[in-house]
Amino acid sequence: MSIDTKSRQGWFSRIAHPGQFMAWTQPLLWPLVGITAVLFVVGLYYAFFNSPEDYQMGETVRIMYVHVPNAWLSQFVYVIMAVSALGTLVWRHPLADVSMKAAAPLGAVFTALALYTGALWGRPTWGTFWEWDGRMTSTLVLLLIYLGIIALWRAFDDQLRAARVIAVFTLVGAVNIPIIKFSVDWWSTLHQPASVFRPDGPTIPPSILIPLFLMFFAFTFLFLVLHLKAMHTEIRRRKAMGLERRAAGALA
């Protein structure tokens, strides 16, 4: 009987079973670490030594190679969380809970880094660490939402119940993502508009675009590695908690 039900499961529910997931992602972890390291070495080399200075900003243009990938990830991680939230609400999938929980602190750190590098870049080029510009303000709101979600995770004792409630809240918070995306078009104050992903092609020359893309992939892979590892840790933590509970039950 058990074999029969197993064969009727789709491929997705098979690879997404927490135990199965651990089994097939475990061998992927170290190769991903390797790719991330190589991308960082090559990307940083290009960013520091093999790309031109900006004719206006001079050397400070190199901050872009860390700022832009962090800013991209700050939104990408939220999208991952929102998709996982859908997985929790629609399919009640335990792995979606784990993915959502593991992504929140990572997203908060990437957002904080984006704001921090932006401030460091803003000081020499705009003459100020901070301005209440649309893009910056909406990114700051994103950071606050991340922190609120982390606080919410920590407040719940029952993680299964927490996941469903937090999924609802995560989807509500997703309204902020399009606001960040279009903030530079709606309020054109200080932050420049999109210059890489545009309908009429990038407005950046290839000599700067290549290192930017390398760093872009380096940071994205870094997120994948950290997210995967955090998910493994969370699955193990839940297993350990389950074992503890069972042991306590056996004693009582």
């Binding site: 939402i145 609120g148 407040a155 119940r161 409630v165 937090i166 609802v168 509500v172």
Partner: protein, 221 residues
């Protein structure tokens, strides 16, 4: 509609008979208006320039303070579980509770706002705009607050988390609320802000009962 009215009436009756709560909130709202002049000095020109911001901050803080009373007591004594068995969809019940919460917490603040206007040296037209902006904006605040209260209702010490969750999302209400009152950018600008505020209010008031009901259901399972 009958059941909706019954839930609404029950909330109002409970508030009337237990008393105190509503007046404390109004007191808090007025007190913020009293405290700010002490902090900034009683310079009337400056006070009246900052008055729109102070009114909205006071409204924000008092609304957040009252969030916990929306679902907490009914969750703890099991009333929410009983209400979920009713014929009325649970989101309609949550809608009734949200409406009652607005009547009990936002309306008294709006009635008390002339008091704040005197202390902050507002003139009559500004007071009129302040009342309109609070009338139009507070439903959005209550609706968003309902989501925060619903998400945190099953947490034992959830009182502080709901405001932390809701505040960043409520920033647009603050922006357009203050924009409606102040005329610094011209009358067209404050009219546009009022329309935006109305749009946000309608959207959140329409969607929040469903979201809040979902969060309560999933938090209780």
């Amino acid at each position: 509609m009958n059941a909706f009215g019954a839930v609404l009436a029950r909330e109002l009756k409970l508030a009337a008979r237990s008393g105190g709560d509503v007046l404390t909130l109004v007191l808090f709202f007025v007190m913020i208006g009293v405290i700010v002049p002490f902090a900034m000095g009683p310079d009337k020109a400056m006070l009246s320039r900052l008055a729109p911001a102070i009114v909205w901050i006071a409204a924000f803080l008092s609304m957040l303070l009252g969030l916990d009373r929306m679902f907490r007591a009914d969750h703890e004594d099991g009333t929410l579980v009983l209400l979920r068995q009713a014929d009325l969809p649970f989101s309609a019940i949550v809608g009734a509770k949200v409406a009652a919460h607005w009547l009990l917490t936002a309306l008294p603040l709006i009635i008390a706002s002339p008091l704040l206007a005197i202390m902050l040296a507002m003139d009559m037209p500004t007071l009129g705009r302040a009342v309109v902006s609070l009338l139009v904006g507070t439903p959005a605040l209550v609706a968003l607050g309902a989501i925060g209260a619903a998400v945190t209702v099953s947490i034992r010490r959830g009182g502080l988390i709901a405001p932390v969750l809701i505040l960043p999302m409520a920033i647009p209400i603050l922006i357009f609320g203050v924009g409606t009152i102040s005329t610094g950018a011209g009358p067209d600008q404050s009219d546009a802000a009022l329309l935006f505020l109305a749009a946000i209010s309608l959207m959140t008031a329409a969607l929040a009962p469903f979201v809040a009901a979902l969060a309560i259901k999933w938090g209780e399972d």
